[in-house]
Structure formats: structure tokens, C-alpha cells
Symmetry: C2
Subunit: 347 residues, 2 copies
Amino acid sequence: MQGKKRRIAILAEGFFGDLEAKTASGLIMYKPEEVVAILDSTKARKSVQEIVGFGGDIPIVGNLSDSLKYGPNALLIGITPRGGKLPSEWREVIKEALKNGLDVISGLHDMLNEDSELSMLALLKGAKIYDLRESKKYNKVARGDPALIKAKVILTVGTDCKTGKMITSIEMARQAKKYGWNSHFVATGQSGIIIAGEGVPIDSVKGDFMSGAIEEFLIEKSKSYDLLSVEGQGSIIHPGYSGVSLALIHGCLPDALVLCHYPEREKIKNYEVKIPPLTELVKLHEQNAKPIKPSRVIGISLNTQKLTKTAAKKQIQKTEEETGLPTVDPVRFGCEKLILALQFLKR
Amino acid sequence: MQGKKRRIAILAEGFFGDLEAKTASGLIMYKPEEVVAILDSTKARKSVQEIVGFGGDIPIVGNLSDSLKYGPNALLIGITPRGGKLPSEWREVIKEALKNGLDVISGLHDMLNEDSELSMLALLKGAKIYDLRESKKYNKVARGDPALIKAKVILTVGTDCKTGKMITSIEMARQAKKYGWNSHFVATGQSGIIIAGEGVPIDSVKGDFMSGAIEEFLIEKSKSYDLLSVEGQGSIIHPGYSGVSLALIHGCLPDALVLCHYPEREKIKNYEVKIPPLTELVKLHEQNAKPIKPSRVIGISLNTQKLTKTAAKKQIQKTEEETGLPTVDPVRFGCEKLILALQFLKR
């Protein structure tokens, strides 16, 4: 959507405020001025602020036509179904949006541009479909040479999906500026890409080219910045996504890692896989990085949103004692401690 | 090529006998009756036996038209260029094959079926193009439930690419039959797939679906076999391909692993990455498997082809002393020791 000011209506039917709608809440958190309405009939007539605690008076409406009075020029699919396929009930909303001349922005694995009905409709109405996960252009094997990336690289890794990797990476990029870094956030997932307006949809890239895709992007970005804060994906202990996570570690050639965790979660979401103690996961990440480029976990980021403020502070202290590493919740208390831990990278 | 007897001419121009042409030598080793000629002008008029030490009097010819007198009905691209893109000098050979009504079998990342000139030519001449790495149909996230795979699973892993994972897996599947297993080889790369006639081209699958792709295949195959011997890919310490390797480990949910190594290789091929001692790599694999399903490395497979017989035996003994694990070269001395080490899996 280069050149035109985005006025986005976000489809989040049934899920607004949940982790499942993290694309929606991510955009509201970082680009609230671009969001004109949320579509979720189960929460219609409430405001965004009431549901997620930020976003002010952005309205929630019951359907697409109700959103039109707020003048959107695009519909963003704000929910990520498991597997990334288009649910049939969303098809009608997308068609309605296109019929009204709205662009459609999608982070699904299904490429909406390859759907003949939708692409034809877009053509007829002069609307555009943006597939954020389009990945055909990535066809290079990683070169694996740390000298090619001229900036320092910090990568978030997770004990699971949806543990706060994207937000931690964005907040670190912001905070680092105050400490004299010329820092930049690098998005690797659909939510990050819609916020940043660019990035590498790493989980949609063919296996052989994943590391090469992120490496090439970092080589290019490192010409303009001295610290790249890269959004991690999945977890190296995730039954479905571990390959993506390791490819990112080796493709980024990071100087430092930050481990992100959702404290109440004991098992990988949707699986019978126990999350090992953080100390073990710190070690496992460092052991995996080591053969290609040694990298230390320099801190822990917790998502304490479900805890009281007192409980959150206690959890952070407990984690620091357990791991011996600076621990933050970047949303509640900032991430200064992580940036201080990065100072060793400055020449 | 269901239903018709394959009579294959293999394109291996400039590389026949090298590791780069492992698709060619793999097929000659396991399906020699299907190979009618090799195309490599640098070795024309020699026999296959002279170059690779097996394959008997299969002729090597200088170009496609010279191969026609041996009556091929298909041309197999027997070389794998880095990155899997079609080199322009092969294009003419492929066109010539199609013009002569030959099918074309390709393991390239570039889908020849999507090339309009080639696909049109195939249509006109009634020939077929088989893209072994076609991967669009894989769109499921792994379920991560070991109970769904009804067979025992053994996976080869490597210290690098081209260390003998495919051959070790094939030989284990064969040898296990003699020990009462109803075993089956599962291919995950283009060479394995052309030999087996089926498999999962794991390195061409989108990141999120890699583990799910192999898992689904194994669930299905485990209905007919009690031991699945799965070909591994790459290496978890490979700068370009580590993600594929870890996705296979977690998607296969293996009961046992076999580590494959090329003894003279000290660095990852094409990279400045040192290969750590085998004992460290054994540990790293087991640590990565453990959170999802514990799995032990039960043996080592060495590719000793460049050593004398005496030196090879010495190398095997040295490796056994170093690692404490049964060590074989499956091509030279068989892999019985690995199958004996698997007996603990029998109920």
C-alpha cells in the first residue's frame, strides 16, 4: 500500500482480544492511527480500549458494511487460523470488501492472489490483494558468513509460539535508540510485516531457502543500521515449527539471543509437549548456535499480562534468580535491562 | 511413470562419478536395470563400471542423440546444482529430450512444469515432466503425537550433506528384513524419491509444513510396515539447511537415530564451519530430540569410499572407540551392527 495512507478495518470475528488475533492487537498497539474499525460481531459496540486495554475509542462493529462509515480503504485479516488456510466463512467478508473497492491484506498461507474468484473481483473493482506471506522470490541458500552482516544482530527465541517475541523485538529496537544504537526492527511473521511494512515471511519459505532468505535481508539492512532486532518464530522445541526456528537462528547469525516465555504455560500450546526449565532451554539454544556462530542468551522476556502487577514483579525476580539473566516484561516495565546487557557488543 | 517400464538416460554432464551426481549413482546402484545410458561428454565411451565401480556395461555417451540408440523413454536430471536452479546449458538437452518424446524427470527446485516453453513442448510431443520436488500439496502442521505412527522409526542424521544418509537408510531397510522386521525405506530427497518411486521432498516444503509433511507420510506407511527407515537431510549444524534437518527429526518422532559422517571432511562443504567431534554431535542430536520425544543415536555410519580397505577398518574401529557406538560403512561392510543395535525396539 505504498503511497496511500492506510485506513484499515480489521477482521477478527470471534477472536478480538485473544492471542489468536495477535495481528489485530499488534497493529493497534503500534499503528493505532491506521486502524479505523474492528469487525467482531461478538463484541460489537464496545471500544477497542475496553477489550485490549489500549487503542482508545476505535470502534468494534458487527460486520463489514457497518465498518464502511469509518471510511476504510483496506480490510486486514487479523486472525491466524492454525495452518493458515482461509476458513469458508471469511470468504464472503473478503468478497464484500473487494466489492466495495477495499484492498485486502492477508497473512494466510493460502495465497488470495491465486484464488481466481477473489483476484478477478479485485481486478474488476480496482482493488489490490496483498499476500504478506508470498515467498516465491526466496530461492537462495544461506552463505553462512558472519562478516557479510555489518550490523550487530539480536534475535528473540521462544519457549513456544505466542510468547511475545515480536513485541520484545520491536521494543528492543525502540529502546536501543535511547542508548545510542541506530537500531531497526526486522519482521519475520505476518503481524510484524504488517506493522513494519516489510520483512521476510520465513515460515512460508521453502525449507532449503529459509536461512538464505533472512540472511540476505539482514545483509541488506545492515548497510543502514548498526543493530538489527529480529523477530523470532516458533520454538526449537515446537513439534510443527522447530525447523523454522532453527533456520532463523542459523540464518540470522545473531550476536545475542533473548528467550521469550509465557510463565503460566507449562506445555506447548495444542500439544502434549512439556516446556523444559528455562535454564535448559538457554543451554539448548546456545549449543545449537555454537557450531556456526557462538551466541549467548543475554536475557529473558516474560509475557505477564495475565498476572497482577505484584505477581508479575515476583515472577520476574524468580526468573532472574533461576536463570541468572536479566528478565523483563517489555510491555509492562520496558526492556532497558536487555539493552544494558547488549552494551558488550559496542566497540 | 506408473505402469510403464522405465528406460532412463541420465544427464550428468561433467559430474558423473562425483558426489554432485549422487542422484545418478544412487539410481545405478539400486535400479541398474532401469538405466540405459549416462550423458557425460567428458567421460564418453567409458563404461559406468569403470567410473563408479558398479553398474556393469551401462554406456556413457556424449550427448542426447547418442543415447537414443539405447531406447530411453525418459531423461533424468542426475545432477543437483546448489540452490536447485536449472542451468541454462541443460535447457537445450531437456528440450531435445522432449522433442524426441522422452519424459523428463527432475529433482530441481525450479519446477519444470511451470516453465511454459518446456511444458508446452511436453504437451505437443505427448511427453510428461515429473517434478520430484513438487510440494504444493503439503499444507498440514505436524500433530506431534508419537502414538499415531504405528511403526518404529529410525532416522539417519548427518554431520553434513552428502555423508551417506540415503544409502545408509536404504541398506538398513534391506538388512532389517533379514532380522525379522517388515521394514521399508522412506525417501525425503530427490535421489531417494527417484529410487523408491515415492517420498516427501522435505526441503521444498514451506517451513511451517515440513514436520507435518513427513509425519503424515509416516502415519500412512506405518499401517503397512513395522520399521520405517527414513532418509535424513542436511545437518543440524549446516548454515543453509539446519532447519530442514531439525524439522525432520521432530516430524519423524524417531525411536532411534544413526549419525552419518564422511571421515576426511573437517568442515561443512562450501562453508567455513568446523564439524565438531562426533561425540558432541551425538549429544546435540539427542538433546534436540528429547523435549518432544527422547531418541538415542544408536550407531555411526561412515562413508569410507576414499580410504583403502585397511584404513577404512581402522577408521571404523577408531570411531567405535571414540563414540562407544557401533560403527559401519554400509556399502563396504554392510550395516548388520546397526540392525543388531535396533533389537531393543522389538517387543
